[in-house]
Amino acid sequence: MTVRGRRLGVWIGAAVAVGTLLLPIALNDSQLTVYVFIGLATMVVAGLSLLMGFAGQVSLGQGAFYAIGAYTAALLAKLLGVPPVLALALATAATAAVAVVVGLPLLRLRGHYLAFATLAFQLIVLSVIGEARDLTGGDIGLPGVPTLSIGPLALEGQYRTFIFAYIVWALAALALLLNRNLVRSRPGRALRALATSEPGALAAGVAVGRFKLQVFALSAAYAGLAGGVYAFFLSYIAPGSFPVLLSIQFLIMATVGGLGSISGALVGATVITLMVQLLAAVGTLPGMPLHAPAVFSYAVYGLVLVLILLLLPQGLVPAVQARLGARRAVSAVEASAGEAA
């Protein structure tokens, strides 16, 4: 990266950090809710982007880990009275553990097998949640999840969403920072080798299987933590909150932002969440037919996914960085494009 490019990057990063930090003050409650969703999505997409961009694995099931984190945290807090913060930690660990168990056999599969496998995994998870009615409330859902609290300090009242916004900001920032350090570390450079050529990486002595599994577990941990926060935020979760479409939304966010790009997770999450909000608003305008919101969403999801891959396969952030003359890590999709061409 050129010196100018790097300095520019630092300035932009600082500006974004300060801007997003100050933003909640100016937002009303419903806007703050959107802010929280963007933050949660950023966490999930940070993990997915790492998984797809550097480990080259396509996952259509991040929603499953989101759901597992949400339900674990909710059930621990509600049924067992575990302190919420501890519940979050346990939920994150549990989700990662599930990922390890599931990933061991699944990660041996090639890209397209894995895509279907993760999709199947999410459908199975949703099924199980739906069936375990006594435990999870089944399809009706789990109401009455206690709110986030530290000791006697419980998050309630009119500033609840406001404070949640900052909690989510902190966690999202943490996730992005962790990603940045991971990418620059020795395991991170090994991951990059993985993305460009798995046989090459193997030859270089990189423990391919172990790295893939670690990244998979990490991405699940991000999603699980976000899911737990989601549960405490809404106080009510149901299998319907975690449809396959959610996983696809995460996929779109990761692809749009830029696979393997760290800030891409934030950009993708923001762009797509705002777009979803816009579509919902437009679709429910008076005079719009009943189907309008659904039609708009599906049409835009489809179009965005196809157009991004055809026109800007590297994603928004890397495209902009290229304009600014910055050198960027090559994502798996581009790398294989270079081989195929």
């Binding site: 459908l123 046989p199 189907h291 039609v295 489809g302 179009l303 196809v306 294989s336 081989e339 195929a340």
Partner: protein
């Protein structure tokens, strides 16, 4: 015993439709190495188009044929977008087909609304081996058998069919010999579209379809295709029949809601088992 035979016959009928979907996956994957996530959508398009055409007064037979033609055209269009640009890596193509599949929801809802549709299949029933089954079952089996025979003849006896097999066998050599592998890929997408559409046309009288039925259909088809490594249609046929029967038995003897789980679990188990038999590196390098 009666009940068992009922389940068996119904399972075989639905299994045949899965087999057609699976063969669509195989046809496309063999030539292009792309897993077409829109394969289920072809079935939905076929079924819903047939429904619309029948509603407009087109007679049975003609409506279904036109519907299959429409699905084939849809296949061609998907192919153009997914692989039209030379050098698209298969993984990107996969996500593109996924995007198109989702986009198809919008189109289908606009045209048909969001409720499931169905139409009457072959009227009447027949008694075979002491079991009364709808004639539609027999139609499905007959058409599937005929289709497989036609496909075999196409791939083994015609020059175009051999060229497609060549692309699958050795894409580099195919190019050396002058075969345009991208154009062959488009042919295979059109074929996959037709097969998916045919599956949908046969399935809709048995199970109403709506805009988002494609996920379930695709999963069933893919699970069957995995049986043969997404490369061998006859093995996929066997897998599809096993799957169809298994689902029918599960739905009949235990809870209906478990039925969809069967395909999921079987597919996962199959894929993991197959993966453990192959060296991981050879998959990535292939």
């Amino acid at each position: 015993m009666q009940l068992l035979l009922q389940y068996l016959s119904s399972g075989i009928a639905t299994g045949c439709t899965f087999a057609l979907v699976a063969t669509g996956f195989v046809a496309i994957y063999r030539v292009t190495r792309v897993v077409n996530f829109a394969q289920g959508a072809f079935a939905v398009i076929g079924g819903m188009a047939a429904y619309a055409l029948l509603g407009r007064g087109l007679p049975h037979g003609a409506a279904e044929l036109v519907a299959v033609g429409l699905a084939a055209t849809a296949g061609l269009l998907v192919g153009l977008v997914a692989i039209g640009r030379r050098g698209s890596p298969p993984l990107a193509s996969l996500i593109i087909t996924l995007g198109i599949g989702i986009g198809s929801y919008a189109v289908l809802i606009l045209i048909f609304g969001d409720q499931p549709v169905s139409y009457d299949g072959l009227p009447g029933s027949a008694a075979i081996g002491g079991v009364t089954m709808p004639l539609q079952f027999l139609l499905v089996v007959a058409v599937t058998a005929a289709t497989f025979a036609l496909l075999a003849a196409f791939f083994n006896r015609t020059y175009l069919g051999r060229a497609l097999t060549a692309c699958s066998s050795n894409p580099h050599a195919a190019r050396l010999v002058g075969i345009d592998t991208t154009r062959m890929g488009l042919v295979s997408f059109a074929l996959g579209g037709a097969l998916g559409g045919l599956a949908g046309v046969l399935l809709t009288p048995l199970q109403p379809v709506s805009f988002n039925s494609d996920v379930g259909i695709a999963i069933n088809g893919f699970a069957a295709a995995v049986f043969g490594g997404i490369l061998r249609p006859v093995t996929a046929l066997v897998g599809a029949l096993v799957l169809g029967v298994a689902e029918a038995l599960v739905a009949g003897y235990s809870k209906a809601s478990y039925e969809s789980g069967v395909a999921l679990v079987l597919m996962l188990a199959l894929m993991v088992w197959q993966a453990s038999r192959r060296a991981p590196v050879e998959e990535a390098a292939a």
